[in-house]
């Protein structure tokens, strides 16, 4: 199968630049604004969108993304509304790949088969489910691939030579290398480790390798973009949205404009 993700990476290869992958939490700060932000992301230079599925207990996320998820849930976001959001987005954009990212339980409760059917119909391209390692592939990974949806796997600094083939098996679309052991939103310090790890993964797969966790600035995007095929920025966008809200979560500044400015700046890095 060829997905929008495959096409995007192929096109970027001819341009000889890395993909800018941006993450937003679906429904943060509310459904309407999140949809607006999603719609402008490609215009600002985002090549791939990661759409976060809010979950009450995001074990691998730092305080920023946790808070964003709880805000979204507090404003009535559900998995159904996240699928609806994607469907709305696809009315005007049929080319930008969208990867849904989150935790398994909301999908499990929605029903795997029903989810794959509805998400596919809405225009999903990939899935990245944090708490589904290869040992759990029968749950969602294999059914998703059969439904024509890429299943993107996380490789981490703890993924050694023995483990890497297991991680790469059944991985499609791209490999997401987590540049540090820990949660989202921490600071990236050691660049040389990242370079070594990305090259190591590339020696084992023909899939593009994207790097995420701890990347916040244009300079970091530029650095990572020189070794990786994609650069993921998440917490920085979530923080930018958070900065436009008061402590009660009411909007006091323009979140859409703030995110636009940030993404436009980040895009100059690739």
């Amino acid at each position: 199968m060829t997905t929008r993700i495959n096409q995007t990476f192929a096109a970027l290869k001819t341009e000889n630049r890395a993909a800018l992958i941006t993450y937003i939490m679906a429904g943060d700060p509310n459904y309407g604004i999140a949809l607006e932000i999603m719609k402008v992301l490609p215009q600002m230079g985002s090549d791939i969108i990661e759409l976060g599925i809010p979950f009450s207990d995001p074990m691998a996320d730092g305080p920023s993304i946790q808070a964003a998820g709880l805000r979204a849930l507090g404003n009535g976001q559900t998995l159904q509304k996240t699928i609806d959001m994607l469907q709305e987005f696809r009315k005007n954009d049929t080319t930008t790949p969208v990867v849904m990212m989150g935790y398994y339980n909301p999908i499990y409760i929605y029903g795997v088969e029903r989810f794959l059917q509805n998400a596919k119909a809405a225009g999903i391209d990939g899935l990245l489910i944090v708490d589904l390692p290869p040992e759990m592939d029968q749950e969602l990974c294999i059914p998703a691939q059969q439904a024509g949806i890429n299943f993107i796997r996380l490789a981490t600094p703890t993924t050694d030579d023995k483990r890497l083939p297991t991680v790469l098996q059944n991985n499609s679309g791209f490999v997401y290398y987590i540049s540090l052991t820990g949660i989202t939103g921490q600071s990236l310090t050691d660049m040389s480790d990242v370079v070594t790890s990305v090259n190591h993964i590339k020696a084992h797969t023909t899939l593009p390798v994207a790097v995420g966790f701890g990347i916040k600035t244009r300079a970091q995007v530029e650095q990572i973009g020189q070794v990786a095929d994609g650069v993921v920025v998440g917490t920085a966008l979530v923080n930018a949205i958070t900065a436009t809200l008061d402590s009660e979560g009411n909007i006091r500044d323009d979140p859409v404009k703030t995110v636009c400015d940030l993404v436009r700046e980040l895009r100059l890095g690739v």
Partner: protein
């Protein structure tokens, strides 16, 4: 040939041969964790299997259980309670008499030895009521390892004596303010710590939940409870009990009592969940009676959740039962019908707490009081020649403030 067929049939009919090698108890259990943690739990599984085959490990653990924790704990015939209720003979498994005052020490001693074998130098844990936190801080002090305990800020408030105990033992208690600031959030935070400090840190999980192999490891270390009961009741009564009862939060004391008896199919086994204010309210923690299967904290199990798969907060008068999930083996035992799970309300538990204190001179933990309350309901309906065993999993000193408040006496502000 015939023999091996018979063995195979016995295997199929056994309730004691789970989890399978993927960590599954039927559809429950598993390894639903971030990739960063996978190499660690695979390493733990291997280390545990190696340790189990090592007589030196067994020997060291047995010595600690005997001379440090004070095992075996007594199986006590509750004569006055039996007379009062006028039915089956009631025995109490006195886990409250262990060092640190609950069954939690059994598992902590086992796991700290594993941590040492694995070369880990820093211990982390989550705690609700503080019993597991105290037991972890205790074994960390005993082996000279730094210890960080995550505890919901709400629980820190309502369990001050245990917080101070952990501090005295040299542990750092980190109050967790995310989410609803209770046990579930403490577990999230402990997992975040672990994923950030993988090289030196051992996560000492206190209940029979979490990703494989934790539910199995905790069950095995807690099975000392049921193993002792098995021989103690034979010694005292010359026969096995008719019914065994234990309270279930995550379910470590319950699985420890139940596991050795699972294949004795004429013994009734009852797990008691926290019914809180009642199942018709949302203020309870009866995940098996009123919840549905879902995935949280590394395993598939019964959970309190809404129709979107978001986890709901529960409520129980007992902080140790205040958890929206349950160990996966209990979920499986429920689905097979081998164990019956029932809810007991807050006020019933508090009444049983008072009854046990007045009649037997034993102050039970509010967690254990749930099991006692269920026994109080059942015993009068059973004939006098029957035997019922209740797991008295912990002592209730920690709960006197909570009970005092409910009885109109606020001691915390008095001191």
């Amino acid at each position: 040939m015939i023999d091996s067929d018979a063995n195979e049939r016995a295997e199929l009919n056994s309730y004691r041969n789970r989890p399978d090698k993927e960590g599954m108890f039927g559809i429950f259990g598993g390894r639903f964790v971030a990739e960063t943690l996978m190499p660690l739990i695979l390493e733990l599984e291997e280390a545990y299997e190696t340790a189990c085959k090592d007589p030196q490990f067994k020997d060291e653990l047995e010595k600690l259980l005997t001379y440090y924790a004070g095992r075996p704990s007594k199986l006590y015939y509750a004569e006055r309670l039996t007379e009062y209720l006028g039915g089956a003979r009631i025995y109490l498994k006195r886990e409250d008499l262990n060092h640190t005052g609950s069954h939690k020490i059994n598992n902590c001693l086992g796991q700290i030895l594993l941590a040492r074998r694995m070369g880990r130098t820093r211990i982390i844990a989550e705690t609700g009521a503080g019993q597991h936190g105290v037991a972890t801080a205790t074994v960390s002090a005993r082996f000279g390892l730094p210890c960080v305990v995550y505890m919901g800020a709400t629980d820190v408030e309502r369990q001050q004596p245990n917080v101070f105990r952990m501090n005295l033992l040299g542990a750092t208690v980190r109050p967790v303010t995310t989410g609803n600031a209770t046990l579930k959030d403490a577990m999230n935070e402990a997992l975040r710590d672990w994923v950030s400090n993988i090289k030196d840190t051992y996560y000492l999980i206190g209940t029979a939940a979490g990703p494989h192999p934790y539910p199995k490891i905790v069950r095995d270390f807690q099975s000392v409870i049921g193993d002792e009961v098995y021989s103690q009741i034979l010694e005292q009564e010359g026969r096995l009990p008719n019914m065994i009862i234990a309270a279930v939060g995550g379910g470590s004391n319950a699985i420890g009592l139940f596991y050795p008896f699972l294949d004795n199919k004429d013994i009734d086994i009852v797990g008691v969940e926290a019914g809180g204010f009642g199942l018709e309210t949302l203020k309870h923690c009866a995940s098996m009676t009123a919840g549905s299967p879902g995935v949280l904290h590394g395993n598939r199990t019964y959970l309190l959740q809404n129709e979107d798969g978001q986890i709901r907060e529960g409520h129980s008068v007992s902080a140790g039962l205040d958890y929206p999930g349950v160990g996966p083996e209990h979920s499986w035992l429920k689905s097979t019908g081998r164990v019956q799970y029932v809810p007991v309300l807050d006020h019933e538990a508090v009444e049983a707490f008072q009854l046990m204190t007045r009649i037997e001179g034993i102050i039970p933990a509010l967690e254990s009081s749930h099991a006692i309350a269920e026994a109080v309901k059942r015993v009068p309906k059973m004939s006098r020649d029957k035997i019922l065993i209740v797991n008295l999993s912990g002592r209730g000193d920690k709960d006197i403030y909570t009970v005092g408040k409910l009885l109109g006496m606020d001691m915390q502000s008095a001191f």
